[in-house]
């Protein structure tokens, strides 16, 4: 068995999602090659060579891969595919854009956003927005898979793989990269933040939310809220987390003065670590929290801010 992992990178280094995808690949087993496609991406190739478990780094450095255009990148992957039993990529917007195109070109099915490897041909993935988990098996000769980053740990970085160039350029001329605007970063986006700190009705008013802002800016976190806090007018609607708000799954979710109604949990229960600060020891939020602090938030939050 041999696996090709299409890397997610920024030309100079790798994105974490690549490291988690390599962990998933190593659970399948076999040789792992990493493909770095891009324009001026040698730095990323160097970084990939250091990941433990990687045998070979293949670099396709050409202007036609700028912005990882789906048509060209898929053609590139397809041209290399005959050597592999599995083709994998992180389930990022790039991975999701490119791999299904690869699969259809190879006339095989694809598996999106897997959260578990059961065996070389059997995987777990969520369906119905995470409300069910399906175990699915592939009968295809080549398995094309995208991997959910939060479901796997990061691969270690003490390897030394060889680096080789893929020189053939696949410019299909179907699309052109016309620019990119990076999301404004003065406020961390709720849905992509690594840490989210949310306030509920316990915050009492909008001024008190500045306590959370302070903690957030120290942690590089985004600030969210419960519906009760939004309805009371403490914060705008787009900060609502939950069934009818945003769905978040950060590494760390801190719920402050939130009781933990099921409709709120629906928006954050897949967070890696949940912390609850609430003065009511019976609040349902403690049933899902990894760490609970039974305390008045007006004492605890300033303390937290100072300790950071």
């Amino acid at each position: 068995m041999s696996i090709l992992v299409l890397a997610e990178h920024d030309n100079t280094g790798l994105k974490e999602a690549t490291l988690t995808t390599i962990t998933a690949a190593s659970q399948i087993g076999g040789d792992i090659d990493v493909l770095i496609a891009g324009d001026q991406c040698a730095g990323a190739a160097e970084a990939a060579a250091k990941i433990s478990g990687v045998s070979r780094v293949r670099v396709a450095d050409n202007a036609c891969y700028k912005g990882l255009l789906a048509e060209n990148t898929a053609a590139l992957v397809v041209s290399l595919s005959s050597e592999y039993s599995h083709i994998m990529a992180p389930a990022t917007t790039n991975g999701k854009n490119i791999l299904p195109r690869v699969a259809a070109s190879l006339d095989v099915s694809a598996f999106s956003d897997i959260i578990g490897v059961v065996s070389a041909d059997t995987f777990k993935r969520t369906i119905y927005a995470g409300n069910a988990i399906a175990t699915v098996q592939s009968e295809d000769t080549i398995k094309v898979i995208t991997v959910r980053g939060t479901a796997f740990s990061l691969a270690e970085q003490n390897g030394s793989a060889s680096i080789g160039a893929v020189t053939e350029a696949h410019d299909l001329g179907l699309s052109t990269f016309a620019g990119e605007s990076v999301a404004k970063s003065d406020r961390v986006e709720l849905t992509s933040a690594g840490i989210v700190i949310s306030g509920g009705r316990g915050m009492q008013n909008s001024e008190n939310f500045s306590m959370l802002e302070k903690v957030a800016s120290k942690l590089g976190a985004a600030v969210g809220a419960s519906r009760a806090a939004v309805d009371a007018g403490f914060v705008p609607n787009d900060m609502q987390v939950g069934q009818t708000g945003k769905i978040v799954a950060p590494d760390l979710y801190i719920a402050v003065g939130i009781s933990g109604a099921i409709q709120h949990l629906a928006g954050m229960k897949d967070s890696k670590v949940i912390v609850a600060i609430n003065k009511d020891p019976d609040a349902p939020i403690f049933q899902v929290a990894d760490y609970g602090l039974v305390d008045d938030l007006f004492d605890a939050v300033p303390q937290l801010e100072q300790a950071l």
Binding site: Q204, R227, D231, A232, N237, Q243, T244, A261, I262, Q263
Partner: protein
């Protein structure tokens, strides 16, 4: 000017009453080879989404409407095989009442355990096949009148209006639906029906209407405990002796049971919470044994019209009719209203069709409808059971029950006098200072649950950014009166956690009423039981509300 469309008949509400009416009308039209145009509007996202019932179904009206209902695949799959009746004495004890002592009306041979929602889904298919236009997701928001004061039709609500009353992107103005006859079948406490009663004084000669709130859950249980066709009814605990009501547990198909409690809204203690009563009720061994190890899969609530015969209003007015529970045709002695609702719809269809055949251009009072009703089994049935509710109100569950046993079994409901009860339910509430607070046990998350996780299972939702559909006549009343005098009873009688009295952040000693309209189950209890009659339920944007499957 709003756009308008013309029909022969517009029907408001796709419940058993409205759909039976539509089917019967089309059957007659087809028989007479006449074209009749019928439009049914339904506020739920689909037919059945808002239908909430028990239900033990008496197939009498269905037999008359579709004699071949079996071949047509009507979802009547579980015949009742046994009736058990319990008198609950306390949290652990219950007496099974011998069959010979049970009022005749509580026997269910020949009936079926069904999902009334699925029944309506099937009726809608029949109606559409007959040529009826059904529009789910459109709520009738307003009654339209002709210059002569007769009903001209209805207008559907605007879509895409923000909470601030401003139009949002995708705004769509409501439509006027004009008809020769407009028929209101909104079910219990219809919000347009209520306006019609006032406008035409339809209640003039009737007793005050009475209501209950029914709360129900659908469970999948251990197949070993499942007894398809078993019907269990109970009275007594957890309700105290001043509070009427009854519990039920029906074993349906697919290893599913429904368990529920109906609480009379004539209760007097503002601390009482029908939801909490129901949650603790399930811990009684009679229920717990069945439910233990099972999974709760759905939850809902709906008010029930229980005044019966004495409270029936005048059901016609110029240009329209009231049918089914919108008028109050439910037989409370049987806790069944779907068969009478259907029959009232079928009779209404016959009156309307007769008028249309005579080239009636609409707007008249169809008195023939009431005549037909009087000559039908609906009237006979309701008349026999007219004392049932008032007896319970007057004498309590025990002596009322005894009266009902004698009345229904020995005298077949023909005792030559009528008990009356003219205090409206909302006026029964006593001030909090005169009542004992009730402390309910905490939900255990296995048999009993909290309100919000219950509401979750109703799949209810409303577009958040829209005007609140729970309107207050006077915004000061909730705190000034309902909170000060009654300790905020709406927080308890609302089965969906819509009303919350929370600390006013500007003044710690003050309360503020928070209305979470998004949670609303459209049960109408607040409109009925608010002691100040300050809350008026109006239709939210179409499709809003619960999405009940199999309820």
């Amino acid at each position: 000017m709003r756009e308008s469309m013309e029909f022969d008949v517009v029907i408001v509400g796709a419940g058993p009453a409205g759909l039976s009416m539509a089917c019967r009308l089309m059957q007659q039209a087809q028989q007479a080879e006449r074209e009749v145009t019928i439009c049914v509007v339904e506020k739920g996202s689909e037919v059945g989404a808002h239908i909430f019932s028990g239900a033990v179904f008496e197939p009498r009206a269905l037999e008359e409407l579709f004699p071949n209902w079996k071949e047509r695949g009507a979802p009547l799959n579980t015949p009742v095989v046994r009736d058990d009746i319990y008198l609950f004495q306390d949290a652990n004890k219950a007496k099974k009442i011998p069959n010979s002592l049970v009022p005749q009306t509580m026997h269910n041979e020949g009936n079926y355990i069904i999902s009334l929602g699925n029944m309506c889904r099937w009726l809608a298919e029949q109606a559409e096949a007959l040529g009826v236009e059904i529009f789910p997701g459109f709520a009738a928001a307003e009654i339209l009148f002709n210059e002569d004061g007769s009903v001209k039709g209805i207008a559907t609500g605007d879509m895409g209006v923000g909470a601030d009353g401003q139009q949002k992107g995708g705004y769509m103005e409501g439509m006027e639906l004009h008809a020769k006859y407009t028929v209101f079948s909104e079910g219990c406490r219809g919000h347009l029906g209520k306006q019609l009663m006032e406008k035409f004084d339809l209640n003039k000669d009737a007793d005050v209407q009475h209501y209950g709130i029914g709360i129900k859950e659908l469970w999948t249980i251990d197949p070993a405990k499942h007894q398809p066709g078993l019907v269990v009814h109970g009275a007594g605990w957890p309700l105290d002796k001043d509070t009427n009501g009854g519990s039920f547990l029906y074993h349906g198909e697919n290893n599913q049971v429904v368990v529920g409690l109906v609480v009379d809204l004539s209760y007097s203690n503002p601390y009482l919470g029908p939801f909490d009563e129901f949650q603790r009720m399930k811990h009684h061994p009679v229920f717990k044994e069945t439910l233990e190890g099972g999974t709760r899969i759905s939850y809902g609530a709906r008010a029930i019209t229980k005044g019966g015969f004495n409270s029936l209003p005048k059901m016609y007015f110029p240009g329209g009719l009231l049918i089914g529970c919108d008028a109050g045709t439910l037989n409370f002695a049987k806790i069944k209203g779907s068969h009478t609702a259907m029959k009232s719809g079928m009779l209404a269809a016959e009156s309307v069709f007769a008028a249309l055949v005579e080239d009636d251009q609409g707007g008249k009072e169809l008195t023939s409808y009431t005549e037909a009703l009087k000559n039908s089994w609906v009237y006979d049935e309701l008349h026999r059971t007219r004392n049932f509710g008032p007896a319970m109100h007057k004498f309590g569950t025990f002596w009322g029950g005894a009266f009902n046993y004698l009345d229904q079994n020995w005298f077949k409901g023909k005792l030559p006098f009528t008990l009356r009860d003219n205090t409206p339910d909302h006026a029964q509430l006593k001030e909090a200072s005169k009542c004992q607070p009730i402390s309910y046990p905490k939900a255990d998350g296995k048999i009993s649950f909290d309100k919000l996780s219950s509401v979750f299972l109703s799949s209810t939702n409303h577009e958040e950014d829209q005007p609140c559909h729970l309107t207050l006549k006077d915004a000061a009343v909730p705190v000034e009166k309902n909170w000060r005098l009654f300790n905020g009873p709406e927080a308890r009688f609302c089965p969906a956690g819509v009303y919350e009295y929370i600390d006013d952040t500007r003044d710690a000693d003050e309360k503020r009423l928070q209305i979470n309209a998004q949670n609303c189950l459209h049960c109408k209890t607040c409109d009925i039981k608010d002691p100040s009659q300050n809350i008026t339920w109006v239709v939210p944007e179409g499709t809003g509300g619960p999405n009940y499957p199999n309820m």
